[in-house]
Subunit: 384 residues, 2 copies
């Protein structure tokens, strides 16, 4: 019998009053000083005023939104410094995966009394105390950061690093669809595909197990129905709620079983130039899926069925049609014009990509990786 | 949009080396004094020696097994006293739901520095600190106590009470099928039916929600296939593992959505005389199911489908056939010979039964309850 672990999970509240619930949580625990890590967009639409109205005098609020794109070590350390200067005993992350990852790293640093660099790449043990509380509210449905102990951070040399540990998980997750209805169609599609790929990879790779599959299959079931609806009927709270659940469940699944080759391709693409993580992941998934499903395992057939596909061999065409239905362009962003498949292959062969490559149920030889890279840079594919 | 909460969950390890994993957990956290609450049966089969071999000198072990049947306030307080005398900083519950509920209550008392009576019926706030750690290992697959914040305890007046709170949940759940293979067929069937009914009630009652249904449906899917196998092929670790998962998932589901009318009937029966909780629950489920499914809700149809039944109207007959396949006798135990349907009805109308009655999707009038009671005491039914 295979042994496995069903990871611990924080309480998750599904509500239309996310900010109210977050403030209530901190108030009940008598927190005094709150650091808020928010996407710049949340600040533009009036987050500060909204929080001020809710908090009253018992909870002071310090806002940090001086960051863009994926978390970098510099701004994350600045956020830690700002939190310390404010005497923060509570952290709220609200935004996409970057704001959430940063919030989780900041509260870890506050609980451990160390700087970000101390916790990079498991260099030191994570703090066990939970004196500084952390609530996260995703405003996209894709990364699943709210459910995971993995936090991606770009190092000073430009490479992707991470801060990992179940201790980084938040004390409360809030899933509020009213904060995701304004997400534009392309971001809805890209982030939703990220959730789909998390679920498929966690349900089928070398580390999958029944505990992870429960969540991964539910995420696949929801995505198949609700992701096209979220693009087509963007203001439906019910559909947005379902996608937040799918993303959260897919996050639970990768927290247990990790991801695989499509994410290696995605991370490698991102290192060549600016590209949305969800888009890069969807493109990487599409070009590698026929290779992966050649393994034809029971787990792959079950994952396909959860996605509503009864013959595994049909999955690549159905996924491609699904991406087309979501209006996902296969063209790489303009910044990739002077990059080549060889550049991508070089990154794919770098050491940090090997864990995701090894997670794949089929071993991808260098020539296979070269094939994926060629497909991603194929101008005909982009034009189709 | 309906709002709901997905409750926090502890880490759950699925393993064939449960005792080893428990001792490792305590050792890694530098615990020194362990109180073990164990079913007398576990002690008979050599639990003390097995623990001694594992713990070495760093962890002293105090065993408490002076209890039988469902937890009572007297023995539970004795266990608290014994733990205090030993200076216990760790509690292990190993056995059926009673040993697990007691372990969860004992560690709560140790963390809060109060006696059992202090925490009964939410009389006082629960302690938030987790200094005293708690691991639970179920040796039956049914109650789901390992996943829940509800702990049943019989009060000094003989009525059923409870200690409730997410703070009572263990720090680690261990699901070890090797400890359940020796469970006799009748106990396997009865406890497995308890898990089935938890899942059906949590998937369909007034408090159900999608977060609870994910677990409830998975439990129903597993039970339909694996419960008959666990009775027929008792020594299959894979089947026993699946039933432990089903029971754990059903426990997750009732932790969020609570149970309903079948459990009211079960608790009422138990107050009339000694009867196994799982058997009483199965009997209560069978006599009330036709009434309940008359509501014909989407949730009921989904729950039936998860159990492999595509027409809800067929569910009662299929459940009855399933119970017959499990060799579950419909006769009440001999101690019920001088009890009547009227005795049962009187208990069903008592105040403490009303929350489970109210949870039911259809309001059961007093006459409906009288009908269930009559069916349970029907000699023809018992003989069938």
């Amino acid at each position: 019998m295979d042994e496995f672990v069903i990871n611990a999970a924080s309480t998750a509240i599904v509500t239309n009053q996310g900010l109210e619930q977050a403030v209530l949580f901190f108030a009940e625990r008598k927190c005094r000083h709150l650091l808020v890590l928010a996407d710049p967009y949340m600040v533009q639409i009036g987050l500060e005023d909204a929080l001020q109205k809710l908090t009253g005098t018992d909870l002071s609020v310090t806002l940090f939104h001086e960051f863009e794109g994926e978390p970098k070590i510099g701004p994350t350390q600045q956020a830690v410094n700002k939190a310390r200067a404010a005497g923060a005993d509570a952290v709220l992350g609200i935004g996409g995966g970057s704001a959430l990852d940063m919030a989780k790293i900041v509260k870890t640093c506050l609980n451990g009394g160390q700087d970000v660099s101390h916790y990079l790449m498991q260099a030191n043990p994570m703090p066990e105390n939970r004196d500084v509380l952390c609530v996260v509210i995703p405003t996209t449905a894709g990364t699943g950061s709210e459910a995971s102990g993995t936090n991606i951070i770009t190092l000073e040399n430009g490479h992707k690093g991470w801060v990992w540990g179940p201790q980084t998980k938040p004390d409360l997750v809030i899933l509020d669809p009213s904060l995701t209805v304004s997400l534009p169609p392309d971001l809805t599609a890209w982030t939703g595909m990220d959730a789909c790929v998390h679920a498929f990879e966690a349900a089928t790779n070398n580390y999958t197990h029944p505990g992870a599959q429960l969540y991964a299959h539910e995420a696949l079931r929801i995505c198949r129905t609700s992701l096209p609806l979220a693009v087509q009927v963007p203001d439906s709270l019910a559909v947005r709620r379902d996608m937040l659940l799918a993303s959260y469940y897919a996050g639970r699944a990768i927290d247990m079983a990790s991801c695989s080759i499509a994410h290696a391709l995605s991370h490698a693409l991102a290192s060549l130039g600016p590209i949305h993580h969800g888009l890069a992941t969807a493109l990487g998934f599409e070009v590698s899926l026929p290779f992966v499903i050649a393994a034809d395992t029971n787990n792959m057939r079950s994952a396909a069925r959860a996605f509503g596909v009864f013959h595994l061999a049909d999955l690549p065409d159905i996924v491609s049609g699904f991406m087309t239905e979501l209006n996902i362009s296969r063209a790489l962003p303009p910044a990739f014009a002077n990059k080549t498949a060889d550049d991508l292959l070089a990154v794919l062969l770098a050491e940090e990509m090997q864990p995701m490559r090894q997670a794949c149920r089929v071993w991808a030889e260098d020539a296979d990786l070269a094939g994926f890279a060629t497909a991603l840079f194929d101008p005909q594919r982009a034009a189709a």
